[in-house]
């Protein structure tokens, strides 16, 4: 590809004690693509996500978003620059309603400033209504609209995964990092999620996805990166990766 990578990780390394969970890993995500990271359990995929978003700071290595270094920025600043992540085990804000979970995702809210809550009442209620509409539209498309006013803690595991993706979308990201979006979701819903991801991707949203579901990976991805034991194994198009003997070995042990 000719364009600059949107996300570029260079030799990122993290050890937990003696364990090198992520060892000199490189990764590039090109704008407009759907890029996947696969690898056996414990390969370091989730840890890599944590490093990219600086939820855990890397021992070594650099991360660039749209050409700018982000590995020293605190996580919330990285999110504000348009790279938003979800969690492998969906984390919802239990005692907030589904709608409030959604509204929390929105960036640049006037009402989140302490002083503004006192004298910008009008502007804030207008924004809240606007966010409600925006949230309802997204909830509609993931089939959670009917649950808008229930506590998020009452959702099932699969619904939580959907809410997490929906909430991340409220922040209008440029790059969305999904950690196993299809885990624990029923097959029909997985299909829906796939369609949804494709649709969003057509609208210009870039994805970086960790997944174990091979059907999903192969049908969605433009580029696949394979990790094993904390290292880059291979990378390529789904077709290339699928037939690579190293990958088969790492995954199937044959």
């Amino acid at each position: 590809m000719v364009s600059e990578p949107l996300l570029n990780a260079v030799k990122v390394t993290k050890s937990f004690g003696a364990l090198r969970a992520v060892d000199q890993v490189n990764l590039q995500v090109y704008p407009g693509s759907i890029t996947s990271v696969i690898g056996p359990n414990g390969a370091g995929k989730t840890t890599l996500f944590n490093l990219l978003c600086n939820f855990i700071s890397p021992d070594q290595g650099e991360v660039f978003l749209a050409g700018e270094p982000i590995h020293r920025l605190p996580p919330h600043r990285i999110a504000r620059r348009g790279m938003v992540r979800t969690f492998q085990v969906a984390r919802v804000l239990s005692r907030l309603t589904v709608l409030d979970n959604m509204r929390l995702g929105a960036q640049g809210q006037t009402g989140e400033n302490f002083w503004c809550t006192w004298y910008q009442g009008r502007a804030i209620s207008r924004q809240e209504r606007q966010l409600r509409d925006q949230a309802m539209a997204i909830l509609e498309s993931v089939g959670l609209a009917a649950m808008a006013d229930t506590y998020a803690g009452a959702l099932s595991g699969g619904q939580r995964k959907l809410l997490e993706i929906a909430r991340a979308l409220m922040s209008e990201p440029k790059l969305l990092l999904l950690d196993e979006p299809a885990a624990g979701v029923n097959p029909r819903l997985i299909e829906q999620i796939c369609e949804y991801i494709t649709a969003l991707n057509r609208q210009g949203l870039t994805f970086l996805i960790i997944e174990h579901n091979m059907d999903l990976i192969m049908s969605l991805s433009d580029q696949v990166w394979v990790l094993a034991e904390g290292r880059n194994l291979v990378e390529g198009t789904p077709a290339q990766v699928q037939t690579n003997h190293q990958v088969l070995e790492a995954y199937l042990g044959c």
Binding site: P75, H76, V84, S94, L96, D100, L104
Partner: protein
Amino acid sequence: MTGYLVFVTTSTAILALFSLGLNLQWGFTGLVNFGHVGFMILGAYATVLLSLQGVPLVLATGAGVLLGVLLALVMGLTTLRLREDYLAIVTLGIAETLRLVVLNEQWLTQGSFGVQGFALPFAGEDYKLLLMWLCLGVLGVVFWGLERLVRSPWGRVLKAIREDEEVVKALGKNVFWYKLQALMLGGGIAALSGAFFAWQETSIYPEDFQPQQTFDAWTVVILGGGGKNLGTVLGAVIFWAYTSLTRFVLPNLVPLDDARLGALRIMIIGLLIMVLIRWRPQGILGKKGELTLGK
């Protein structure tokens, strides 16, 4: 009797104010503050010492509140980036340290002799009654302000932090700064309650500010159900109703001296809280549904 009613109402309002600060910190934001009384010490002593120096009462009170806010800032800056139990330990330590400073720095505070004869907001026969109305008025204003805040998007961020701060970080909010704000605002409110405490007592002593004050506030907040401002006010009402009732009723029932009776009253409160947490953990005003939610 009216005199006692006025006393109880004033005390309830002050306790409610004090506890509302803790409710903002713990009930809404999830910050474990075991040194809430530290803010009260600062508020009370700063107000009376400054007014003794001739500083107008409003300014002296403002300075007390500001000191409370600054204390929260220091506590927060030093501990909020660490694991959450550090805040609990540090707040407890700082509050005790402050009490000991007040006890020992006699040149400033007259130590255990206490401070008396400072300026009061009103004068004359109706002092207690007027003070009661002032307390209720201030409580009303603070309550209104807090309700407005916790219903705003700002409050939504606090509640979200209480639920899971990693999520809030991932969504681009500066979690540290919001925690700091909650701690400072709660500290300021507690410092304000300290000024009222001083005016009600008309003299203050270091031993007025034992850790027990903090735990009374915890009792009140838990009674009402954390994260409910109305619950906290109700908790304060119940607390004082209980205190006054047992003060009159218990001496007639059990043949114990005053000190032991005091201990017994606290024991019963502890027992009640255990029962409450077992049978109605969401507090009196809390919704049962919230508790059965999976994390």
